[in-house]
């Protein structure tokens, strides 16, 4: 028996039609179909979703934590980009 671990897949779930897929967690699986099965069995047992995406974790291109400052901080002092100057009408829960 091989001691090699199965590759990791990231799982994205669309909780209902119209919403976008959100990252839910990850599963180990030997191949793509198994990853989909495992995602279904691990993350949608309680009717959490209507659609699943899985992608090999190694295929994700992530930003470098060391570059956080260069990447994200320039946006912080540009408050005019935030729509904070509008009044939210009564009765609007989500904007």
């Amino acid at each position: 028996m091989s001691d090699k671990e199965w590759p990791l897949y990231e799982v994205f779930i669309r909780s209902k039609a119209g919403l976008s897929h959100r990252h839910a967690g990850s599963v180990h699986a030997a191949d793509d179909q198994m990853a989909l099965d495992h995602a279904r069995d691990t993350y949608t047992r309680r009717s959490e979703g209507v659609s699943l995406w899985v992608v090999r974790s190694s295929e994700i291109i992530a930003s470098d934590p060391k570059e956080t400052a260069a990447f994200f901080e320039p946006a912080e002092d540009k408050i005019y980009r935030h729509p904070t100057f509008y009044k939210i009408p009564d009765g609007v829960d989500n904007l």
Binding site: W6, V27, H28, A29, A30, D31, Q33, M34, D37, H38, R40, D41, T42, R45
Partner: protein
Amino acid sequence: MSTDTALLAYVTRLGDNALVLSQRKIETVTLGPELEEELANANFALDYLGQARLLYSLAGEIEGDGRGEDDFAFLRSDHEYQNLLLLEQPNGHFGDTIARDFLFESFYLLQLEALEQCSHTGVAEIAARAVKEVRYHLRHVAQWLIRLGDGTAQSHARMQQSIDDLWRFTGELFAADEIDREFTANYAGPDLVALQDEWQKNVAAVLREATLTMPEDGWMASGGKQGQHSEHFGFLLAEMQHLQRSHPGATW
């Protein structure tokens, strides 16, 4: 045999199949090769337990003697159980459980699809719910069969051995007796002869994809449906029933 006697026996058999397979699956909990497969297996075991509960409750209603699901599950002895022999065989290794599930669920899915259309409302409703669960199980287990059959030389050899070892229990799936014939005649139930053709076609297609050889039909074991079980069954029942037997009426 009266219509009601045959109906009661037929529904109890369906419940027995579900409960015995559930119990065998529960025995493998904590033994899965990976956490995710472990969860899948436990879910499947619970699916079967749920089906058994519904079927036993229905059997109790048909019987009308006040027996409930627990009485059917925990207070009957081995010769009163009428499950298929295939399902009571010891789990063996992982490939053996895949072979067993594949051979049975290839049959059970067809049986449920037919029962969904039968004219007994209670049975049809349970079948309609179970068919979705089993369609998924079969998909899962067929993928495993293909993966292992068409995997390494070792996994191929072991998977072929598992299929060969269990093949002798597949004849009983289609061996219709008076209870099957009565139910089918009275409630437009499944025709086991037609099911067998369909089963052979489906099983052959998956085995081919798994690069496995379909065994020749040889001597076939039977008797489970008539309450004659293999030696393993007593141990299964003893473990499953000991709590209710030692502490009658115990509840959580």
